[in-house]
Amino acid sequence: MAKSVRFMSAVLVAGSILLSACSPKSDQAASEGSGSGSGSSGKQVTLSVEVFDRGNSPSGYTIKDNYWTRWVQEKFGTPNQIQMNYVPVPRSEEVEKLNVLMASGGDVPDIVFTYDSSTFYRYALQGGLTDLTELIDQYGPNLKKFLGDEVLNYGKVEGKLYAIPAKRSNLGKYSSFIRKDWLDKLNMPVPQTTDELYATLKAFKEKDPGGTGGKVIPLGMTIAPAQYEPLIWSFVKETTEEQKYTLTQQLGSRDYPILLPGFKDALQFMNKLYNEGMMSRDFGLDEDKKKMSEDISTGKVGFFSEDDTNIYYADGTYETLQSNVKGAELQAVDVYTNEKGEHAKPEYAPVGLYVMIPKSSKHAAEAVKYLDWMASGDVLFNMQTGVEGENYTLKDGIPVALENPTEEAKNRMFNAGDMTLITNGQQLGSPEKNKEARALQFPPKYQDGAREALKISNSDTVPPVLMDRPIEAQAKYGNTLLDKFNEMIVKTTTAKPEQFEAVYESLMKDYMASGGQAVLDERTKVYGEMKSK
């Protein structure tokens, strides 16, 4: 369970903070660090780079010494008189371990990263990061070109570049899926709107086309965003630009429409579905989607939303379903419809990791050079695809992974994705190619389905709202508010219909008092500043 990992890491940080608290920190490390490029002096320097350790190193390789670390050393390190040194951080303790490294001052790697934007903002605001604004102009022409301004803006805090965000190759998030064989059995068409979906779910419930013996779950639901976000966002009414900036609340890495008009209608709809017995009963307990995945693969669920290609993996939910239930067929569909007739759903910010250079680093110039080198020529392509003929073959300019690579070729790629810090997902130059490459990752029988799901997840999307500067209240109250938000979803949904109003009112009041109001006020203020510029 994820909870145990989080708890263990919590214990770890707590301990390490106390330890680091005991060691007096030298202020000079911070002041002399500020990125003096020592590359020209001709003597070899060591550049240390954080790397995620997922504990999956094949034999013969370690996370610090493998095919790609050797390759980087040969192609980039040695020619530039740089000794590469990789510092492993367990993937599951990303933020906690990073906090420890940062607090340790001198021992922190020259390149660190996190997915958590709040952590990045906190470091930047507390003065722990190197200002990269000039360094990237000086040493990073390829990097700048590769990322583009839109992506780089995410790394800016108060006008200064404090992080190099990785570029995300595919912005689509969610698709929905329906049991096509159930529809055929009931002689019903694929629903096209939310109203039609309601009728379909009702038919699933009443006629039980899967023969589950009363255990049918027409709508699979959990308390994870992939299940509730597509539903909720489709209820959000048309919003002005001002509303978008001020009323959205960014908690963690997602935008939440909690104050936007229409949000309450979404909760009301969920309440109705729940009380009519059309939704997973214990969805409030299902944080990791385990229960829902189980229900899908045992053929109980009729319709659900999910991360676009999640079900298509080999031995994944879909394959298990098909081996459990003969003739089961899931079709990717886009159903939830908003008042304009669009299938509105959120999309990812165009960024992945925030790559940062701590202020105490003495090799900021080399660090930027390293990232720039990665963006140059065919370096990224090589690192993402491996060796032609051994790992992949080119088909219409798109690399297709070999179906049966040798053990050696397979092992070579075990952490390639974690080495390419400047991108999230395969970059082949255009979104179409990226999507196609993604679809080709799945077993051939599911590739058409994956293609359709990717198309759906990329249509009618609502992009995240980027403010001019980080909202401090969001970093401060984000986790608390996220818990309150989940509580609101679960409690309003499971309330008796006549109590819905009262439950909603009291939870909303609690939400606003626990930081929601502070976030709203700060966003309104920052929006005002943005407008007056």
Binding site: Y123, D282, E287, N479, V490, K491
Partner: protein, 300 residues
């Protein structure tokens, strides 16, 4: 002169004490240096010394948070109910085990009773979910098969409370018997024989001999438990709890985890920790004082 001779003779004993002493100084007293974080605007990059003093601002902020009072109330409530339900359980169990005649049966039951203590809460959480779930839990499957409406063991806050308490008893009662059983062996066997000769029933013997015999142990454990009233383990409420019952399952430890470690507000987390320590101390001293007055037993 006498002192030197004494030390010369027993210095090994003192040397043996050095290691545990060092442990307490380094790992128990050393970290207290970090308490000052509660009075500073802690900046990860400046360290403790470099961070600015902010006086009691952080305390004001914590005491102004709604969630603080909710989690404080829940902590006290869960601990108090736990004391009512979980404290007598091992005592009763221990007496029952003690009364068993068959040695092999007693040993077997003891072993079976201990086992839950060694299961991690994460695994217990998984079991609880499988057993008590509303739609697919084992117990509810039986209940609905018999034609009764399902019971929301995990999703209604009041029934959840009962689940929480009983799971606690299941997990800890067996282990808790160890101390009582040890104390029970200290009772003079002749007392029982004499009572039996005088015609005392089993219940009378338990009431007049067994219980008075382990009274000091009971009082000591009670005082220790009262001292823990304000502190609560992280795992049990966090893992057994869920979004539906957060009104009750959100406690100080999960609150500290959320604001301190997830949101990186170490100052606020330290404030809550310090608050817990101070209140815990007051509870221990208070319980000890009352106990000394009432029963002449105490730990200090």
């Amino acid at each position: 002169m006498k002192m030197t001779r004494y030390l010369g003779r027993y210095w090994q004993l003192y040397a043996l004490l050095l290691l545990p002493l060092a442990y307490f100084i380094i790992f128990r007293y050393g970290p207290m240096y970090g308490i000052q974080i509660a009075f500073k605007d802690f900046n990860l990059f400046q360290g403790i010394n470099g961070s600015e003093w902010i006086g009691l601002d952080a305390f004001k902020e914590v005491f102004g948070m709604r969630d603080f009072y909710k989690t404080l109330r829940n902590t006290l409530m869960l601990n108090f109910l736990d004391l009512l339900v979980s404290f007598p359980a091992p005592l009763i169990l221990a007496i029952m085990l003690y009364e068993l005649r068959s040695a092999w049966f007693r040993k077997l039951s003891q072993t079976i009773l201990y086992i839950p203590h060694f299961i991690s809460w994460v695994i217990i959480g998984g079991i609880v979910y499988q057993v008590f779930g509303t739609q697919s839990g084992m117990i509810n499957n039986v209940i609905t098969a018999l034609g009764f409406p399902e019971v929301p063991f995990l999703t209604d806050k009041n029934t959840w409370l009962i689940t929480y308490l009983l799971v606690g008893v299941w997990q800890s009662a067996g282990w808790g018997t160890i101390i009582y059983l040890a104390a029970l062996t200290g009772i003079n066997k002749e007392l029982f024989e004499a009572a039996e000769v005088d015609g005392a029933t089993r219940m009378r013997r338990i009431w007049h001999i067994t219980l008075p015999g382990i009274k000091p142990t009971i009082v000591t454990l009670l005082i220790i438990n009262l001292g823990h009233m304000i502190s609560i383990g992280f795992e049990r409420p966090y893992i057994i709890g869920n979004t539906m019952v957060r009104d009750y399952s959100d406690v100080l430890s999960t609150f500290v985890y959320r604001i301190g470690l997830e949101s990186g507000q170490y100052t606020l987390a330290t404030v809550v920790g310090l608050f817990q320590a101070v209140v815990g101390l007051v509870f221990v001293l208070g319980a000890n004082f009352v106990s000394k007055k009432l029963t002449d037993e105490g730990i200090l």
